[in-house]
Amino acid sequence: MGQAIRREAVVGGIAALAAVDQHYLDQARQMQALSFAVHIPLVCFGMAFPVLVLFCEWTALRTGSEVHLTVARRWSRVLVALFAVGVVTGTILSFEMGLLWPHFTGTFGSVFGLGFAIEGFSFFVEAIFIGIYVYGWDRLSPRWHLASGIPIAITGVTGSFMVIAVNGWMNHPQGFRIVDGRVTDVRPVQALFANTFMWHEFVHMYLASFIVAGFALAACYAVALLRGNTSRYVQVALTIPLTAAAVAAPVQVLVGDWAARTVAERQPVKLAALEGLGQTTTGAPVHVGGWYSDGEVHFGLPIPRLLSILAAHDPNATIRGLSSFPADALPPVNVVRLAFQTMVGLGLAMALLAVCYLWVRFRRGRAPRSAWFYRAVVLAGPAAVVALIAGWVTTEVGRQPWVVYGVMRTADAVTGASGIPVGYGVLVVVYAGCAAAVWWILRRLAGKPFPDRPSEVPEEVGTT
């Protein structure tokens, strides 16, 4: 990482900066986690869905297929509805950066803020072209319309790249020094973009977006198929997202392995928490399931040496246990462990489903016919969202008790405002309402699709 941050010396200095009431730390963390869990599945749709819609439209242009054009039109309605909700839930997150963690933003804003500033511009371009794309059907020439969608796909990637650059920096801080408790020698470009920790996070997340959006969409059409709707429309709308998710899921397993090795190298305490490894062990096992307490996993199914193999590709590698770290620098082990095992278990199950699908596709040259396959696809939709959130819980709770890893504790970043529980309650109610609303939108768009051609639209209502 190019420069040494003298972490132990630093901690006291930052803590002194932020002498705050930590009364509501847990509520603030849960509030942030809730906001994040609401936003992040929408982000997946923001990244992957435009690519799928554009692919459909491109296929329609290339082959003249009316079905593909209809699919693209209907999806673009869903896209803009999800984007609208994503815009506001994302705005809430940027508010919370200050409302919940003012000492984090106030102390380190000059280091990491640049990433969000650039992300803001990505978001801008995305919002502009979503407006043009969704309202431009039949108004722009087909080629220009297709072209107007391309910036949406690109900015979805650049925006998430910036946010993940910030997260990579929080997990692996660099690009600044702390002298007498003050942040100096700030090099924001190095902090964000010369940071090797972000790459596995970014690739992992980009693939996850296709798995989540792909399986979630495919699940909707698999339901229609299981109810006996075998129209060409359902087949096309099922095949495209399902194939996208199916090619991403096996690749994700390899990228996940890369991510785990990077964590093993850079954040050994997180790795120990992932497994619940109490003592430093040579040839460390992995326990499937079970519960961590008193320095070991109870009731888990042990697989000998697997952790050493996964973390270092060496069955005899020595892995540091939790007891070798200071007791006040440990994350909540069971939360991290459970989240990690959920993500890995669901991820492997989805990869298996994907391989089954690709096998039938390539060897038999057709779609699978078994109803059980489509029932599994229906389950894969919510499973992908759960795996996504579990993955973020793994890395973010695994980073605790630090907000800036090894530099600033989350407890020192939290606001002293007294109304946090009230705000938390309000946000829970509002988000529950939002979730119900989004569910209603999606049901409505699926059950009673929009007129696909402007000629079918009554003149006074317009197509919006």
């Binding site: 242009l61 290339r62 082959t63 003249g64 297929s65 079905v67 054009l69 803009v80 999800l82 815009v87 839930t89 705005t91 809430i92 508010f95 200050g98 409302l99 933003t105 106030g106 102390t107 000059s110 280091v111 803020g113 969000f116 500033a117 803001g120 511009f121 801008f124 919002a127 072209f129 407006g131 969704v134 431009g136 059907w137 039949d138 108004r139 087909p142 100096t184 700030v186 924001p188 090797t196 690739v203 693939l207 095949t239 199916a246 690749v251 390899l254 990228v255 890369w258 590709h313 690709l358 596709r361 606001t415 109304g419 939002c434 609303a437 402007p454 209502v461 317009g462 197509t463 919006t464």
Partner: protein
């Protein structure tokens, strides 16, 4: 204070002005949504903001991110003291965005009146909360280190004045825009209805702004002094003149120029506030003290300029299409089919994808050193789109 320390503040000012004018007009439509049960008028409200509201909204995110990057301590202090109105504004934005998305899935304004009610109420409530935040900052109630009162910092005469002004100005801008849009699409009844509303709200906004000076004089003498001397006074005078010009243009049914004059009048008010507050950002905190280190400021300026080079032409395209009426009504369909290109054989593509995956997997898992790891990752990532294209069935003739 160096120019570099001031420059991001000028960006923030520009962002604030654009947010107030563009998103203010979007938010202002909510008031008119509440003011009528007329199906046609409500429909016009949704149609008019449809293509632009997301882009307009992003100016707020721009302001927040530049503020916390370039002046992190100011951002922290504002968030600590004004936590309540900021949270209320955030909730208002969620409700409004969700209501808008819900509307997109409904069958027009009469389908679900409760959606319209949430949209309208949150559209009035949000600018009030944001205005109250500005009032708290402008009247010097946000101490630099945090610790201002959580209630009186935004429930005070200046905050309530600015909040009310934000609502009324937004409604005025919205009425002018809606009237101009209605003229463009040839909806004369809606144009007349919105013109009446523009005149009424314009007069109300002017009265509130002038009468508000009395409130500011009593509650925030420093701000009053800034607004009645030097550059601050110039901004106020420009704003009054432009406001009168805009009202005159609305009166004479010159709605397209009126929307620019009205927007400029509002911009001058925002500029006047910032100018009046010089040289302190927060009481006792100057720009120079609040600014981030030089390296960060340089990075922010480069990012904003580079971003602006991309964003402004894009915005120009969007507003050009909207104001030119290109997004209003469909154009006749053209033949879309392009002759199908030669299709690469799926079998070959599938084998290439599999080869990429296997080779990449080997390098990713066993490759020594970061370079080979990177090659492996690129190979497995390349396998995904190749496999996608290979696995998709060909589009059959009958569906074309």
């Amino acid at each position: 204070m160096t120019f570099l320390q001031l420059l991001p503040l000028l960006f923030i000012l520009a962002g604030l002005i654009l947010y107030t004018v563009l998103a203010g007009a979007d938010l202002g439509t909510g008031a008119w949504q509440l003011s009528t049960r007329d199906h046609g008028l409500r429909s016009r409200v949704y149609d008019s903001i449809g293509p632009v509201w997301e882009a307009n909204h992003v100016w707020l995110i721009f302001v927040l991110t530049v503020l916390w990057t370039a002046y992190p301590s100011v951002f922290a202090a504002v968030c600590i003291t004004l936590v309540v109105p900021l949270f209320l504004a955030a909730v208002g934005l969620i409700l409004r965005g969700t209501a808008y998305a819900l509307h997109g899935a409904s069958n027009g304004p009469d389908d679900h009146r409760e959606i319209d009610a949430v949209f309208g109420l949150s559209s009035v409530f949000t600018p009030f909360a944001l205005g109250a935040v500005v009032g708290g900052i402008a009247s010097g109630r946000v101490p630099p280190g945090g610790g201002g009162d959580q209630w009186s910092s935004w429930l005070n005469p200046t905050s309530i004045l600015v909040g009310a002004l934000a609502v009324v100005l937004g409604a005025y801008l919205a009425a002018v825009q809606l009237a101009a849009d209605a003229v463009r699409v040839g909806d004369d009844a809606a144009a007349a209805a919105f013109r009446r509303r523009a005149l009424a709200s314009g007069v109300l906004a002017g009265a509130l702004a002038v009468g508000g000076l009395v409130v500011v004089h009593a509650d925030a003498p420093r701000l009053f002094h800034g607004l009645t001397h030097g550059a601050g006074l110039a901004c106020v005078i420009v704003s009054v003149l432009l406001g009168l010009l805009a009202l005159g243009l609305v009166w004479r049914r010159r709605l397209d120029p009126a929307r620019f004059a009205a927007g400029a009048a509002v911009a001058a008010i925002v500029a006047g506030w910032v100018v009046a507050q010089r040289p302190d950002v927060l009481p006792g905190l100057t720009v120079a003290e609040a600014a981030a280190p030089t390296s960060t400021l340089v990075a922010v300026v480069v990012a904003v300029v580079a971003g602006g080079i991309i964003v402004f032409p894009s915005l120009g395209l969007l507003f050009g299409l909207v104001l030119g009426g290109r997004l209003d009504r469909p154009r006749p369909a053209e033949p879309t089919a392009v002759p199908a290109g030669r299709r690469v054989r799926a079998g070959l593509l599938g084998r290439v994808a599999l080869a990429c995956f296997v080779a990449g997997a080997g390098l990713t898992v066993f490759g020594p050193g970061p370079a080979l790891l990177a090659v492996g990752i690129v190979l497995v990532l390349a396998a995904a789109p190749l496999g996608f294209l290979a696995a998709l069935p060909a589009v059959p003739e009958e569906s074309r």
